[in-house]
């Protein structure tokens, strides 16, 4: 029992830290750079991707013994596209403003490498429950990555956090932060911090 709990926990946390999609695997860079202008956009994008990821992985995992190997990628794409369409209409129904802000990037979740990668590398070889747990972890890790970019870019680029003004009227926005180069700068900064921290941890582990 405890072994299986440990295993489940392992599946769940893999995406959060050890194999974080943004900071370790560096996958799904298009939405990471494009929609992280504000915290709300980043969060919405993260949740949308997570939903698609969970249900796609579940379905892929359920069908893993039926689908012939030759057509598996096409099958995954159809499955993913179905859920992306669902999410697309869902966001449109909830908030038209958000839908316009995210633009084509909702539809582009179809070609997000994280989802296809998880389906191919994990869900197609694992039973449904662990596959879903892993997908939840991966989605949370991706959302975390998007949020960490979105928060920094929103604070520096607009002086706000989730739409709440932080610095008052006379805040000087850093124009570059809401432009594409700002996305690269902030992503690079986070990667630097994570790599530095990982290396420190490694060095500490080796000493003890």
């Amino acid at each position: 029992m405890s072994a299986s709990v440990t295993q489940s926990w392992d599946e769940l946390t893999e995406g959060l830290w050890r194999q974080n999609p943004t900071f370790v695997m560096v996958l799904g860079m298009c939405p990471t750079l494009a929609v992280t202008v504000s915290g709300v956009n980043a969060l919405a994008m993260g949740i949308a991707t997570t939903l698609v990821l969970i249900f796609s992985c579940l379905l892929v995992s359920l069908m893993r013994n039926i689908v012939p190997g030759e057509v598996r990628i096409a099958t995954y794409i159809v499955i993913i596209a179905t859920f992306v369409t669902v999410v697309d209409y869902l966001i449109q129904a909830i908030s038209l403003e958000l839908y316009d802000a995210l633009g084509a990037f909702i539809q582009l979740i179809v070609v997000n490498c994280i989802i296809l990668g998880r389906a191919e590398a994990h869900a197609s070889k694992t039973p449904p429950i662990p596959a879903m747990l892993n997908a939840v972890g991966m989605g949370a890790g991706f959302t975390l990555g998007l949020l960490s970019l979105g928060i920094v870019r929103e604070i520096l680029g607009a002086g706000k956090l989730f739409g709440i003004t932080l610095f008052g009227e006379s805040f000087q926005p850093w124009v570059v932060m809401v432009l594409p180069p700002g996305g690269f700068f902030v992503l690079g900064g986070w990667l630097l911090i994570f790599a530095w921290w990982a290396r420190r941890k490694e060095a500490g582990g080796a000493q003890s």
């Binding site: 006379s170 805040f171 000087q172 124009v175 570059v176 432009l179």
Partner: protein, 371 residues
């Protein structure tokens, strides 16, 4: 007993000048320019110089410690970056922004690539480019030089609180009751109002409250000192200025009514400072003798093109950065021919194989093929 055979790669004969010596001399040669800048703009300029340089040194220390990079505060290179960056931004640039771009200059321009000597782009210009992208209004807001109270009061925009918009300087300038030149650089004046500043004022930066940097004549003198001591390659500034003057002259001939004469091109903006101090950065300029002419000419050409045909009044920064990016390519195509060889890889006369073949040639095998 203790003697051992030491096998080393070249160079075996070293000159006396180390990185530290060169950098220290560059700093010394920059000091008169900085003093002139303070003379022009008073304590605001002094504060800018101090804050930006301090921020560069701080970033340098931080990354040297975190990343374990080589680099020593004693090598003076971060000081040069700071001073040059401070000289390229407006004197009334808010100090907190100066701190930010100083930090970014070292972080993004130098530490990212692995420290001194490994950087692809001139760190000071990377910092300025970041400033241009992040704070486009502040970096284009110039104030007139030789304001009456410059040694007792700051330019209002200097002392903006961190993260806050700087105060508007137009009322402050209007209160000083200067003539029409106030508040715009001669380049912006020419570009947006087609008014030319007199050449003698541009050369000395002294007359008429012009919103200009330190005098080009002073920069050239300081550059001559460095060139005489072989601390910079004189070909690069010369090529840059020739490139800019030629391009400017050609455009001037095409339409003298619209475009300024080459003298204005040479003396206005940051061209001289850029040509002497930034284009000559050793790590980011070509090392081949013919390459430096191409490199300098490219900077001069691009500067004039950006000034005349783009939305920006000044183009020195971007043209040097572009030329920095082109440096490896320039070095590749201008490789000097080794003495005694024909063009690389070509057979000469009746020779059986080229003198410098790309790969070892099997002469006997080739003979066999012929039969």
């Amino acid at each position: 007993m203790s003697s051992r055979l030491e096998i080393r790669s070249s160079p075996h004969i070293k000159g006396v000048s180390s990185v530290e010596t060169i950098m220290k001399n560059v700093v010394w040669s920059l000091l008169p320019i900085c003093a002139f800048y303070v003379f022009q703009y008073g304590i605001s300029a002094l504060a800018t110089l101090v804050v930006v340089t301090a921020s560069c040194l701080l970033a340098d220390r931080l990354f040297a410690r975190l990343g374990g990079q080589s680099g020593d505060i004693g090598d003076w290179s971060a000081t040069i970056t700071g001073l040059l960056l401070a000289l390229t931004i407006p004197p009334g640039f808010p100090l907190w922004m100066g701190f930010v771009i100083g930090f970014v200059a070292i972080a993004l321009g130098k530490a990212l690539f692995g420290g001194l000597g490994r950087n692809v782009f001139n760190p000071a210009l990377v910092g300025r480019a970041f400033g241009q992208a992040a704070f486009p209004t502040a970096i284009a807001t110039y104030t007139p030089s030789f304001m009456p109270g410059r040694f007792t009061e700051f330019i209002p925009s200097s002392l903006a609180m961190p993260f806050m918009t700087p105060a508007d300087t137009s009322a402050w300038i209007a209160a000083a009751k200067l003539d029409a030149w106030a508040g715009a650089t001669p380049l912006a004046k020419w570009k947006f109002e087609t008014v030319l500043a007199p050449a003698i004022d541009l050369l000395t930066s002294i007359g008429g409250n012009l919103a200009v940097g330190p005098a080009p004549i002073l920069i050239v003198l300081c550059g001559l000192y460095l060139a005489a001591r072989r601390f910079l390659d004189w070909r690069i500034p010369v090529a840059t200025l020739i490139g800019a003057a030629l391009t400017g002259y050609v455009v001037y001939l095409l339409n003298p009514a619209r475009y300024p004469d080459p003298v204005f091109v040479l003396l206005s903006g940051g061209l001289v400072l850029g040509a002497v101090y930034m284009a000559t950065d050793m790590a980011t300029s070509p090392v081949t003798p013919r390459g430096v002419w191409v490199y300098g000419g490219l900077i001069g050409f691009l500067t004039v093109i950006i000034r005349y045909f783009s939305g920006l009044p000044e183009g020195v920064m971007y043209s040097i950065l572009i030329a920095n990016a082109a440096t490896p390519l320039i070095e590749r195509v201008t490789q000097p021919r080794p003495f005694g060889t024909a063009s690389l890889g070509k057979r000469k006369g009746r020779a059986v194989y080229p003198l410098l073949p790309a790969e070892p040639v099997d002469v006997a095998g080739r003979e066999k093929d012929k039969k």
